[in-house]
């Protein structure tokens, strides 16, 4: 999905099975503009161990349709909260082996604070609100990754007071 918010913000959300090219995505957001002063990229990578045990692979299941809408909603919220010039979110699904990239967030702004804050906000929300579920393949079989209380706490930081937690 690719949409342009009037005037200035280029926002892209993509869910895909294929790997992505973080550098190319970042370059696309800054190309041809001279108002960008700060680019933050976050890349989430599949680690070789989960809870101390080696893993062979992760499989990411998602809720097609909802996952995209949910991420787009948070991207739109980020562009309202911070003066962003561009945002790209790419989330992979399917089987991913250790060392491979899982998720990419790129934020571009005139100033670094906005770019950093928006990238952290989006990652915290992706971890706790985007409908993705990780299953790990270990020697003993496959198990679902448990949600982490620390991720919930991180996402809570951004909650507007009085907002319904389920919204």
């Amino acid at each position: 999905m690719h949409y342009i918010i009037p005037m200035t913000v280029t926002a892209t959300v993509r869910l895909q099975r294929e790997p992505f090219d973080a550098a190319a995505e970042a370059a696309m957001l800054t190309r041809g503009r001279t108002d960008a002063g700060a680019v933050v990229t976050f890349t989430g990578i599949c680690r070789g161990a989960e809870a101390g045990e080696p893993i062979a692979a992760l499989t990411l299941e998602h809720y097609p349709g909802m996952a995209e809408t949910e991420i787009e909603r948070h991207v739109a919220e980020a562009t309202e909260r911070w003066p962003l010039l561009g945002v790209t979110v790419i989330h992979r699904f399917g089987r991913i082996v250790p060392g491979e990239d899982i998720v990419l967030v790129v934020t571009v702004s005139s100033h670094r604070q906005a770019a950093f804050a928006a990238a952290e906000f989006l990652m915290d929300y992706l971890k706790t609100r985007a409908p993705f579920w990780k299953q790990v393949e270990k020697a003993g079989g496959t198990t679902w990754v448990d949600a982490k209380a620390t991720d919930d706490a991180a996402a809570e930081r951004w909650a507007a007071p009085g907002r319904d937690a389920a919204e």
């Binding site: 989430g44 990411l60 299941e61 998602h62 809720y63 349709g65 909802m66 996952a67 809408t69 949910e70 989330h91 899982i102 998720v103 990652m123 992706l126 971890k127 706790t128 609100r129 985007a130 409908p131 993705f132 579920w133 990780k134 299953q135 679902w144 990754v145 448990d146 949600a147 991720d151 319904d164 937690a165 389920a166 919204e167």
Partner: protein, 85 residues
């Protein structure tokens, strides 16, 4: 009223199917009530919905709380806490 149910991750595995159409029975008005009714539908459902507190729901692809009315929902999804990113 016929609605589509969708299951993800271990809820899907326990129920044994990714989706199904059901007729909402009389007296089932909220998402929480729907989970109670589902748990009564057999062993696999009882297992999937044994602890409804850890199950999240979405109506028509929007997160909702358990006390949300089913209303005119077209699609209700049940899944564990999300672990994306």
């Amino acid at each position: 009223m016929i609605i589509k149910l969708r299951y993800f991750a271990w809820v899907r595995e326990r129920v044994g199917k990714p989706e199904e159409d059901i007729e909402v029975p009389p007296g089932v008005a909220t998402v929480a009530q729907l989970m109670v009714w589902l748990a009564s539908r057999g062993e696999e459902y009882a297992h999937a919905f044994a602890n409804p507190k850890v199950i999240r729901a979405a109506i028509d692809r929007t997160h909702v709380r358990p006390d949300t009315a089913i209303g005119n929902a077209g699609e209700i999804a049940f899944f564990p806490p999300m672990t994306g990113g």
